[in-house]
């Protein structure tokens, strides 16, 4: 789950991580008033939007007077960045940048731990830095039994700074950001850039955080910040029903048991020249209600021309799956062609039961996909 920069900065502040002054605004007039209230000459107007690439898209503008602030806010609040409409901006203090650093904590699959990443190449796209000059990125896996005691925070801070004053600030930021990360079940906590001001202070002038969906049940404060897109709303609805659903843009609706098999089904549709309309993993049972819910979801998409049901009957036998499908489609009034592929335990019995019904029955994945691609 993603949150906005201003929300991440609110969290930073509550953990004592220094951020610049900022005011959240919904309309240009609020931005102009914020400029007056802040009583600073130079400010930055920044789009608050749940995607990256905001700077390149013109969503971040420096302003030196009231008029510029209002004008930039007006423009930015009218924009859409990567299809995300901008509905909020922050007007924030423009600090005197001495130098810029990169700091993040992220889950690392390989070390099976949280890792700290730091670089003196702040303000850049860190993936680009990682690709071109990997030696400029420090990576430290954090032992969850140990966390970041003072000695480790100092060790890390000394990688980027020499002066004790900055080292102490940096060490404190590293400890607080890690605490925030762990307390709130984050999957990413990134400061890019972390700025050393000309006055010698370290300040986070951008803030990015994402959170572990599996942990939201114990993070009500974070969960409350969730602003789902339309696609995410559908995904969340599907999740409530016990499905995993991802909307794609094609014509063949898929219903599969198992995530890996569902991906493989999508892949084969493409391989055979078709376009998948979605990813849909309905999990392991043959409950007719589940099938009805899944079909309802698929039929909502007007682009869907055919539905491919790909079931591997393992623990649930194929004859039970077939009877579940028959029950479900008694209640579903649809002319949509439905290809069913059933493999696994009692597959012959299952296929036999579906013959002569609404369903077009296939034996192998290849056959089923070919039937779906060439339907109706």
């Amino acid at each position: 789950m993603k949150i906005h920069e201003y929300q991440a900065k609110n969290l930073f502040s509550s953990y004592g991580i220094p951020v610049e002054k900022y005011v959240l605004c919904n309309v240009a007039a609020e931005a102009a008033k914020a400029y007056d209230d802040m009583a600073m000459e130079r400010v930055v107007v920044k789009a608050q939007v749940l995607t990256g690439g905001r700077g390149k898209a013109g969503g971040v503008k420096l302003a030196k007077n009231r008029e510029d602030v209002a004008r930039h806010a007006e423009t930015i609040l009218g924009m859409a960045i990567k299809e995300f409409p901008v509905t909020k901006v922050i007007v924030s203090e423009a600090v005197n940048i001495g130098s810029e650093y990169y700091v993040s904590y992220v889950i690392d699959r390989n070390t099976k731990s949280v890792i700290l990443m730091m670089s003196a190449e702040g303000g850049m796209d860190i993936e680009e830095v990682a690709e071109k000059t990997p030696e400029k990125i420090f990576k430290f896996p954090i032992d969850p039994l140990i966390g970041i005691p003072d000695y480790l925070a100092r060790k890390f801070a000394f990688e980027l700074f020499k002066d004790a004053a900055q080292v102490n600030q940096m060490a404190a930021i590293l400890q607080k950001l890690y605490k925030l990360f762990v307390d709130k079940d984050a999957s990413l906590a990134e400061i890019n850039p972390l700025v050393l001001t000309n006055e010698g202070n370290l300040i986070a002038i951008d803030a990015k955080m994402t959170f572990d969906d599996n942990a939201l049940y114990r993070q009500p404060q974070i969960h409350a910040l969730f602003e789902p897109t339309e696609a995410e709303k559908t995904e969340a609805y599907a999740k409530e029903k016990g499905f995993s659903f991802v909307h794609l843009d094609g014509e063949i609706g898929c219903m599969v048991n198992g995530a890996g098999l569902a991906m493989a089904t999508m892949d084969m549709i493409k391989l055979y020249g078709g376009t998948p309309a979605n990813f849909l993993d309905i999990g392991g049972s043959s409950n007719p209600n589940k099938v009805i819910d899944a079909m309802t979801l698929l039929l909502k998409d007007p682009k869907v021309k055919v539905v491919l049901i790909n079931i591997f009957g393992g623990i649930t036998r194929c004859d039970d799956v077939a009877s579940g499908l028959l029950t479900a489609f008694e209640q579903l009034k649809t002319d949509m062609p439905v290809v069913v592929r059933l493999t696994g335990t009692n597959e012959k019995e299952g296929r036999e039961m579906l013959k002569g019904t609404h369903f077009r029955v296939a034996e192998t994945m290849g056959e089923a996909v070919r039937m779906a691609v060439t339907a109706p």
């Binding site: 889950i107 079940d185 942990a215 995993s244 995530a259 991906m263 493989a264 990813f279 696994g344």
Partner: protein, 289 residues
């Protein structure tokens, strides 16, 4: 042989009194797995399917000399269950539970590592050494004892592949579903090493998917250390970036973890990569010649 589980596996089921725990205990027992006990705090002293239930894993280990544990508790209690098993001296812990917070997995993994135990999962179907032992929720009837080792990030895709193998007369030495989360226990590298060292295994199928770079690292390992034929499959070629495809770990992020990269790395390491699961038996036969 086979890896990780066999006739000497003595299994306890953590959460044996739950719906899934009870159902799969029955299946495992029916397959012949030596299920020596189960745990359910407060229900110690009772029995499920003739299997004694204990309050704690400590007690279960003491009374049954269990060496392996399978966990069916809800995700929010799974980290605690894993740690209890490791602390009680269980050497191999299989966590079926889906939906564990990643930091819980990281904590539990570190704990298991500190205790010198091994973890499979979470969010996995478990594993199978056909003809010997089933520790998981895999459909036993599609397996056949033989000499192909199967390791996979996906459950049903494993079944699909095993189904084709069995249908083509190619039995399996061990099949392991490693789990679909970003962070899980034993993974490609460790399992490749075990299969390479297992005398019964003659060829290996590795089934990967988008997300992370474990397949690339595994390919590197295969190139340098695995002499047995390896055939691969990668799911998610048609997946869009930035979207979790069912598994929490199946996501292309920051421009990394695509199927194309994985397939390229595997092919560069000499691994034949199948386009569809049904091709795998023939590819294995060719590679084993």
């Amino acid at each position: 042989m086979s890896i990780l589980i066999n006739e000497s596996t003595r299994l306890i089921v953590q959460g044996i009194t739950g719906r899934d725990g009870g159902f799969h205990t029955q299946k495992m027992k029916a397959y012949g797995t030596n299920v020596v006990g189960g745990t359910s705090p407060g229900k110690g002293g009772t029995e499920v399917l003739g299997i004694p239930v204990f309050n704690t894993v400590y007690e279960a280990v003491e009374k049954t000399q269990a060496n392996t544990s399978i966990i069916f508790v809800p995700a929010r209690f799974a980290a605690d269950a894993i740690k209890e098993a490791a602390d009680a001296g269980i050497g191999l812990i299989i966590c079926i539970s889906e939906g564990m917070p990643t930091l819980d997995v990281i904590d539990a993994y570190r704990f298991v590592q500190m205790k010198g135990a091994m973890l499979i999962g979470p969010n996995c179907p478990g594993l199978m050494s056909p003809g010997k032992s089933l520790v998981g929720i895999l459909p036993a009837q599609i397996f056949k004892q033989g000499n192909i080792g199967v390791i996979s990030r996906s459950g049903t895709l494993t079944y699909e592949v095993v189904y084709h193998l069995t249908a083509n007369g190619m039995g399996q030495s061990s099949a392991i579903g490693m789990g679909g989360d970003p962070v899980v226990g034993l993974y490609f590298r460790e399992l490749l090493e075990m299969l390479q060292n297992d005398p019964e295994t003659e060829a290996i199928v590795m089934i990967g998917e988008i997300g992370g770079n474990a397949e690339e690292q595994a390919a590197e390992y295969v190139k340098n250390h695995v002499t047995k034929p390896v055939v691969g499959f990668i799911a998610g070629q048609a997946a869009p970036p930035g979207k979790q495809m069912g598994h929490a770990g199946a996501i292309i992020s920051g421009g990394g973890g695509t199927a194309a990269e994985k397939i390229a790395a595997m092919e560069a390491a000499g691994i034949k990569v199948a386009k569809e699961p049904s091709e795998i038996p023939a590819m294995l036969k060719a590679a084993m010649k």
